[in-house]
Symmetry: C2
Subunit: 333 residues, 2 copies
Amino acid sequence: MAATPGRRVTSADVARQAGLSRATVSYVLNNTPHQSIPEETRQRVLTAAAQLGYSPSAAARALRSGRSDVVLCLLPDWPVGPEVGALLTNLSTALAARGLTFVIHPVIPGDRPVAEIWKAITPAAVLAFEELSDSDVAAMRGAGVASVVALLGSSRRQRRELEVSQQRVGRMQAEHLAATGHTRLGYAYPDDARLRHFAEPRLEGVRTACAELGLDAPLVQVVPLDAPDAAAAVRRWRDNRIGGVCAYNDEVALALLAGLREHGLAAPADLAVIGVDDIPVARLADPPLTTVTTDQNAVAAHLAATVVAVVAGEPQPRPPGSDIVTVTRRGSA
Amino acid sequence: MAATPGRRVTSADVARQAGLSRATVSYVLNNTPHQSIPEETRQRVLTAAAQLGYSPSAAARALRSGRSDVVLCLLPDWPVGPEVGALLTNLSTALAARGLTFVIHPVIPGDRPVAEIWKAITPAAVLAFEELSDSDVAAMRGAGVASVVALLGSSRRQRRELEVSQQRVGRMQAEHLAATGHTRLGYAYPDDARLRHFAEPRLEGVRTACAELGLDAPLVQVVPLDAPDAAAAVRRWRDNRIGGVCAYNDEVALALLAGLREHGLAAPADLAVIGVDDIPVARLADPPLTTVTTDQNAVAAHLAATVVAVVAGEPQPRPPGSDIVTVTRRGSA
DNA sequence: CTACCTTACTGACACGCGCAAGTTACACGT
DNA sequence: ACGTGTAACTTGCGCGTGTCAGTAAGGTAG
């Protein structure tokens, strides 16, 4: 390790040290094909680089090649649970295996516009959870960002990769409750407005499942994460002779269990409850929570494949099958 | 918006459109001081840039200036809860207010080395949760990364910004249990090895608090997130006449409540339980969970100030006071 | 009329890199 | 002896910026 005098170590330094030209150094370090380099020279370059602690400048490389190998993920300020965390982790490994660097940036509504962000990164692709405005998309195209993938959203313009699997989640919930003998269903909608993008497709899934099974449409109620409020919702459902409720997620489901408890009632006898996500505390509840899980690994793999295809300009792969969503049956439904 | 023929819009295009030189365009767009530019010319540049949808190349800018305005956060594959999520979100806004772009990269042990990551980004600073190896730090210095901030870790070499506030958390737990009349305490250590970096300082805080209060050292047990296992732990504590337990976090605390339930017992009468984090479901538990909360906003502000100071080469600010950690008293302790 | 300052610009360089094209030196075939 | 081919290199360009060092025009002082 050389004593660095403040200056950055460049490939020119390595070349000088090895007594070669900069081009040769570049060829060796990048394993450029169709170049014949004797083993001795190669070693000379490698040791020189190691000695000086050389590492190429990402900026220069990006400038020269016109595109970086960074994939930028714009993450809204959702109360992110371990499932989204797992998805992002899996996505990172999946993209890393394909030579792409995955990077996340939180997007906060009041903050500076998203434009500022990708300008400072110049990513190869952008993965947006929320939908982007048309002007943003146009600007990104102009700035050389290869492409954009939206995951959820209301418009029909952008392809929404996660939408169908979210619908599938709602569908599984309804089907499980129907299979256990319930004919009148409720839906517990989250209180947090930021979760709308997830909640809508899930509710949509429940609705279509009910329609297909010949059941009445679900009775939807907003359920805050608070025992008394949840108790009020429980009362109304029971007044309407609702036997089973699909909760937006496990937290809402746990609120319902607390609401039942306030009335001195319990799932599943008085009201069957099914959640989503299988968070760690789900199995610790009283009764243990029945819930729907998604194989985040499979989702991540598909998302990674989509990004890679989009960057390479190839057609996008088919979405994963419906078998990635499964019911974990415990005590509450 | 001009119809872009694939090519990137550069400042040269803007200059041509405005009938000026590239230098003048640069001066206008960067508000370079000590340059006299008449208002009319300035407007000419601005409208041309807007018309063409010009946005400067981050890569070129970084190459020229030698440093980017990106702060890279290396996030280990911890099961990240909403608290860490909130911390990251707050950090992002705090840094954005200071002109820095905050970006997160998940670090997975088996994956490629961290070196690959910052090479692809060239950040101005790196914020590492886990400790970095000395060779990594040296390499980063050499590559022009201004500096490094470690948050947690075992060595004494790097400053650990979060360490003290984590100790403070454990301290508050112990003090609350002592204040409610418990003299023999237990500590519920998490099962997940990845949480060690958080668990150690918290336990350390409990230990020192016990010592200062003249109590016996806490009886430490690993508690998996599973009712039967938790029940076994509960039994052992009660056999040792332990009256109150500090849980690593709310999830572990909820496991203890489930363990008590298996014995037909309940908090706080049979065993007082106090958690950490105040996750949403904490208030929904039976009994509602008493827990310790940290003001993530204040922590984020301090971290942001530290990063800014480090990038600017100024002395680091003082850590926040101990008042950022508070007890939320509910039913369980 | 000359000397000098200010205004409003422009020309040119360097940042570090990848890669196309060019240059030796030497072996081989005829 | 002469072209041809290949191994092992090197020279040089341009990616898009920010900025230093000019420079021509116009005004003002002496």
